[in-house]
Symmetry: C2
Subunit: 351 residues, 2 copies
């Protein structure tokens, strides 16, 4: 949920900003932003702020305008001060032209911003291509590399990452065994994920039923799956490990249950389980600009379906207080869980 920002003109942004990476070389300069000055519950601490108009960019810089800014779980964790990377305060703007207490932080890490060229993807795809799809792609390629016909298991299968996993796997003929939380309209979720290419969809509740587990073992996993992707941790993850093959790799990328990873030690000793983690930000740091662009190209060519989404229009004519209220209340709803749609902020121009 980045607002308009100014970026130094680096190689990174020769193409339309698909770019979480942008923020590492960017300076916030103008227009409206969603900000906070103390850490806490995002549905309480967020404010909106309108900065002065952008002056023309200094040399080696350019101005970009964010078109759509998704609200990702990690954005909320940063605001709660529960994320590994700490945000840098914006203090360069304290020129007395607005009344927001200094220092403050700008929320968000991803989005679609306009520079010059047009992007060739849908706005929503372009706004959500730099964090979740590459995470899915890299997790399928950096550990145990499943081949056509192999089975990959994941939880949080309806997350944006999970949906990308399903689609990328399906393109390669990799079967997916997907787990989601139960809900009243579970069948429509199952149908939706199957329409993306999911081979099997179950709920964590199913894992409490011995017969279903036995059925999954005999008809689906057989000798077990060798790759499991973990978005959730806690109890569901522990239950799923019974479906793993010996010497399987469990890759964690999220902890949406807010529980730790709790695993019987015997899995490591007797079944040779291997636990790893994946962080897309680190992948970006460790790879060259060429490799990053190559990955974006690969992902763009996969033409993944947009995640189910909802755009929150933040009217240019609304006051900062009204905008803050809009953002806070959608976040409160997201935090209740089972929201089912990625929310993207659209900062509309004032006139």
């Amino acid at each position: 949920m980045l607002p308009s920002i100014r970026c130094r003109r680096t190689n990174l942004i020769r193409r339309p900003c698909l770019s979480a990476r942008l923020s590492t070389s960017s300076v916030l300069l103008a227009n409206r932003a969603i900000v906070y000055s103390s850490f806490g519950n995002p549905s309480e601490v967020l404010s909106a702020i309108t900065y002065p108009d952008l002056p023309p960019p200094p040399s080696k810089s350019l101005n970009v305008k964010y078109i759509l800014s998704p609200i990702n779980p990690a954005d909320l964790n940063v605001i709660e001060n529960k994320y590994h990377s700490k945000p840098s305060p914006v203090s360069s703007l304290s020129e007395g032209r607005h009344k927001f207490p200094e220092p403050h932080y700008v929320g968000g890490n991803e989005g679609l911003a306009e520079v010059t060229e047009s992007v060739g993807l849908s706005e929503v795809n372009a706004a959500t291509i730099t964090v979740n799809p590459p995470t899915a792609y890299n997790m399928l390629h950096s550990f145990v590399e499943p081949k056509e016909g192999d089975l990959v298991m994941q939880n949080g299968a309806n997350s944006a990452v999970g949906q990308a996993v399903i689609q990328i796997a399906a393109r390669k003929g990799i079967r997916t065994l997907n787990f989601v939380r139960n809900r009243p309209d579970i069948d429509s979720l199952k149908n939706y994920l199957q329409s993306l290419g999911a081979t099997h969809v179950f709920t964590y509740d199913d894992l409490k039923d011995k017969e279903t587990v036995q059925n999954i073992k005999t008809t689906i996993t057989k000798k077990g799956t060798s790759l499991m992707l973990n978005c959730v941790s806690g109890e569901p993850t522990k239950d799923m490990t019974r479906l793993l093959a010996d010497s399987a790799t469990l890759v964690s990328y999220g902890a949406m249950s807010k529980q730790p990873l709790i695993l019987p030690t015997s899995l490591f000793i007797f079944r040779d389980l291997r636990c790893r983690g994946f962080w897309q930000s680190k992948w970006y740091e460790e790879h060259s600009i060429q490799q990053r662009e190559e990955l974006m190209k690969t992902l763009a060519e996969l033409k993944l379906r947009e995640p189910e989404y909802e755009i929150l229009n933040l009217k240019g004519t609304a006051s900062d207080e009204e905008v803050a209220q809009q953002v806070r209340s959608v976040i409160a709803k997201i935090q209740e869980g089972r929201y089912g749609r990625k929310v993207l902020l659209r900062f509309e121009p004032a006139q």
Copy 2:
């Protein structure tokens, strides 16, 4: 805590039986054994039984006589039915010559047994060389291979495995950061471990003290350790992970706390933690007889100090009931924890 057994004459036992492996190709035949017919608390379910005298071995077999039979934690787990491998019942001996209910199981997995040659190690060393020292040795060599000057961290450092880790590491100039449970005479335990070559010894309680942790970080671990060996799981293990370097490997081989491995998912995602497990039995299965003998030779040459031990003499003149009572009560004491000595059973001859 194996009794006298008969083994098929395989390559494995061309040399004096140093051999947990023996049991995989052995048939129990005679004399006294510590047995059980239902799973449960070993301090309650164990009995002693005297089998008829051994007949002469059939072809391709030989008779061996156990001299010392250590009581290892895994032996107790097997009896509790909490171990990965299930024991096989002994039913070939139901010839009505004793009154023990059939089927029953014989406890134990390691020991020193006599065949023909003499062994060149102390009895205690020979009786305890096939499970714990190879586990220590292989964990130091199969994952991150630490070099001279590197630091390895472990919990359960006063376990038989832990003591072997300390000594093997010290021989190679590898520093060890050791953790144990607190106790009234903690200083004498620290001195003992340091006499084995331990570089640093702390208690899990020390990890609750911020200043001590900070001190360990600045003076000992610095950028963190890259290899941690886990005998304990649960809370202490979680606390210790704060001392790990990025991309460190945590190798689990025991779960003495009876707690699962509980780790924040963030360690995997942001610090690239890698969790593995080690099982010596599997190592034996996966390696040739030559490799096994090579390892035993290497370990024998390291001349590790005997673990602190206590020999429980099971008198040949005592009744099976008396012997069972002796074994049960020492196990009850071991189960209280902080026992500090490896208990070895010596089955004394009847006359």
